[in-house]
């Protein structure tokens, strides 16, 4: 390592500490303070520790709303990600493998899904017409629609690295199209599937605005919306709010820590032919 590399490394570490670690430490410190001390929003060491009492209070708030929110968010995340993976892989496979004059049109449709921002009010009209508004499965479909383009993009580029010979060998072995997909192609998509699962589940689990627009109702609450429990126009309980943030940040963080190597592998696969 040269002197120059050493110092650029130090600077990069310092910048990322300021950007990522300090806010997290700030959240953790406020979360263990009592109400009065937390309201000052200082970055000082807590006078007294209230970790457990804050935690219990956050979980019990509004008749255990946080637990219901965890349940709802988990159902939405698992449901949406499952559909995204299966549909994304299938569409990506067909788009990559089958030459047809419709391909460029379909591809334009997929790309427009990435480029055109969704409009909230018309979407609500559609949901209402289909009786999907304020329902968990409606929310799942919304997330599938928003995430599908990106999933197809990733799957398609990954599938292009799987040699066509494998499909043909399976055809000669007597496999039907669905058998080729599920028994030969899908198992080979593992790296990119992990990427899609992690990226999308974190995005969906952390989603605030879509749940706010499309999923009103007390029984439909998702984790991000529980943040409203401790914030109001006149009084805010900062210690509980930050404890809540801490609690709902941890699951995605764990997922990310376990899978980050595979995410990079899945993202870059297909970029360079191996």
């Amino acid at each position: 390592m040269t002197r120059r590399q050493f110092w650029t490394g130090i600077v990069a570490l310092a910048v990322s500490t300021v950007l990522f670690i300090i806010p997290f430490v700030f959240i953790a410190i406020i979360a263990v303070k009592d109400k009065r001390e937390a309201s000052r929003m200082g970055f000082d060491w807590p006078d007294s520790w209230h970790f457990w009492s804050n935690l219990v209070e956050v979980v019990e708030a509004r008749n255990y709303m946080l637990l219901l929110a965890y349940f709802n968010s988990t159902v939405i995340t698992v449901g949406a990600v499952t559909v995204l993976v299966v549909l994304g892989a299938m569409v990506g496979y067909v788009l990559q493998r089958r030459d047809s004059k419709w391909n460029s049109l379909i591809w334009a449709g997929v790309m427009s899904g990435l480029m055109i921002p969704p409009a909230v009010v018309p979407t609500i009209w559609v949901l209402q017409e289909l009786h999907l508004f304020k329902t968990i499965h409606g929310m799942i479909l919304i997330h599938v629609a928003y995430g599908l383009s990106f999933a197809i993009l990733l799957f398609r580029s990954f599938i292009s690295t799987i040699p066509r010979d494998l499909d043909e060998a399976a055809i000669i072995d007597g496999a039907k199209p669905l058998q080729i997909f599920f028994r030969v192609v899908l198992p080979l998509l593992r790296p990119v599937t992990v990427t899609v699962i992690v990226v999308q589940s974190i995005a969906i689990f952390n989603d605030f605005t879509n749940a706010l627009y499309y999923l009103p109702g007390r029984e439909n609450v998702t984790v991000q919306l529980t943040l409203f429990n401790f914030q109001s126009q006149f009084t805010s309980q900062m210690n509980l709010l930050f404890m809540n943030i801490l609690l709902i940040t941890i699951p995605p963080l764990i997922v990310y820590m376990f899978f980050n190597r595979q995410i990079v592998a899945g993202m870059t696969a297909g970029a360079v032919k191996g």
Partner: protein
């Protein structure tokens, strides 16, 4: 065991016709090699026989049955790919048994068949490995094993040895020849390597630009090439071919003489200066510049002393000349 008969087979990709009317009869149990330069349509023709590529017109019969519109899996063929095309996520055992498990055979029967094939190809100790833990030659054997278990009427090989190194390639050539003798099945083998064609084939089909140039046994093609193309393609180093004024003097439009049929010495119609020498051990290939014919290549005994700049007279052996 089956005959393969192609009748007026053509293939077009859009406006481009890549296979231009092929008629071919491959006998039961024959080892038939399609050989030709890249882009001549040999792989396309093999893929048409396998059913992976549609036939634009004409018919393909396998074992007396017209299979032109049939699914690949219904044609009674098995194919070995250049890239081996092993399923990377499956063990060797599952790779070999994949087709059988798709056909929903009982587990015990699959196991027995897979082990029998593995035995035949000395793969028994590798059955539980994944393809990535195998060497190139072993992968090739697994790919062959996958085709054997299906008991096909016809085996198709698409340049199966081109990813192997030279030593392994010659070993696999012998193994394939042995396998052919053991199974007695009809085999169609595509290669661009005329050495593979010469050493393995019962029948060689030389293809050029979507047409058959000549069909025959290896020695027929070597001794009696029907066209300058075949003459130049079969045999290594290439036959010396001359056209224009030199050929007219010989009474033909193209005159050919193989390097091994030129005697170098003090007598002969052509003079020449040695420009380049390739020593192969047993033989030496001598490249010469000749004022009479231009470039001239001759094969001489490996122990004969020769140096760059040496002058020789070259004489073609009578009866070994080719006139087209």
């Amino acid at each position: 065991m089956a005959q393969v008969v192609l009748k007026n087979v053509t293939k077009s990709f859009g406006a481009v016709e890549v296979i231009k009317g092929i008629n071919l009869h491959i006998n039961d149990g024959e080892f038939c090699v399609f050989v030709g330069p890249s882009g001549c349509g040999k792989s396309t023709l093999l893929r048409m026989i396998s059913g992976l590529e549609d036939t634009t017109s004409g018919t393909i019969d396998i074992d007396g049955r017209d299979v032109t519109g049939e699914e690949p899996s219904k044609r009674g063929i098995a194919m070995v790919f250049q890239s081996y095309a092993l399923y990377p996520h499956l063990s060797v055992r599952d790779n070999i048994g994949f087709g059988l498990s798709l056909a929903k055979l009982p587990k015990a029967q699959i196991k027995a068949k897979v082990e029998e094939a593995a035995e035949k190809l000395q793969l028994t100790h590798l059955l539980d490995r994944k393809p990535k833990a195998l060497s190139g030659g072993q992968r090739q054997r697994v790919a062959i094993g996958r085709s054997i278990v299906r008991d096909p009427k016809v085996f198709l090989f698409d340049e199966p040895l081109s990813n192997l190194d030279a030593a392994l390639r010659s070993q696999m050539r012998m193994e394939l020849t042995d396998l052919h003798a053991e199974l007695g099945a009809t085999m169609i083998y595509v290669t661009h390597d005329q050495v593979e064609a010469m050493t393995m084939a019962d029948k060689i089909v030389v293809l050029n630009a979507g047409r058959i140039e000549q069909v025959g046994s290896p020695m027929e093609l070597y001794d009696h090439p029907a066209s300058p193309f075949v003459a130049g393609f079969i045999g290594s180093p290439k036959m010396n071919l001359y056209d224009g004024e030199i050929a007219r003097r010989m009474g033909c439009s193209t005159y050919g003489i193989r390097p091994e049929h030129i005697a170098l010495g003090t007598e002969g119609p052509w003079g020449g200066t040695v420009k380049h020498i390739e020593r192969l051990g047993a033989d030496t290939i001598v490249h010469m510049d000749s004022p009479e014919v231009g470039q001239l290549v001759a094969r001489i005994a490996g122990d004969r002393p020769v140096r760059i700049g040496d002058m020789f007279r070259a004489a073609p052996m009578t009866g070994k000349e080719h006139r087209f």
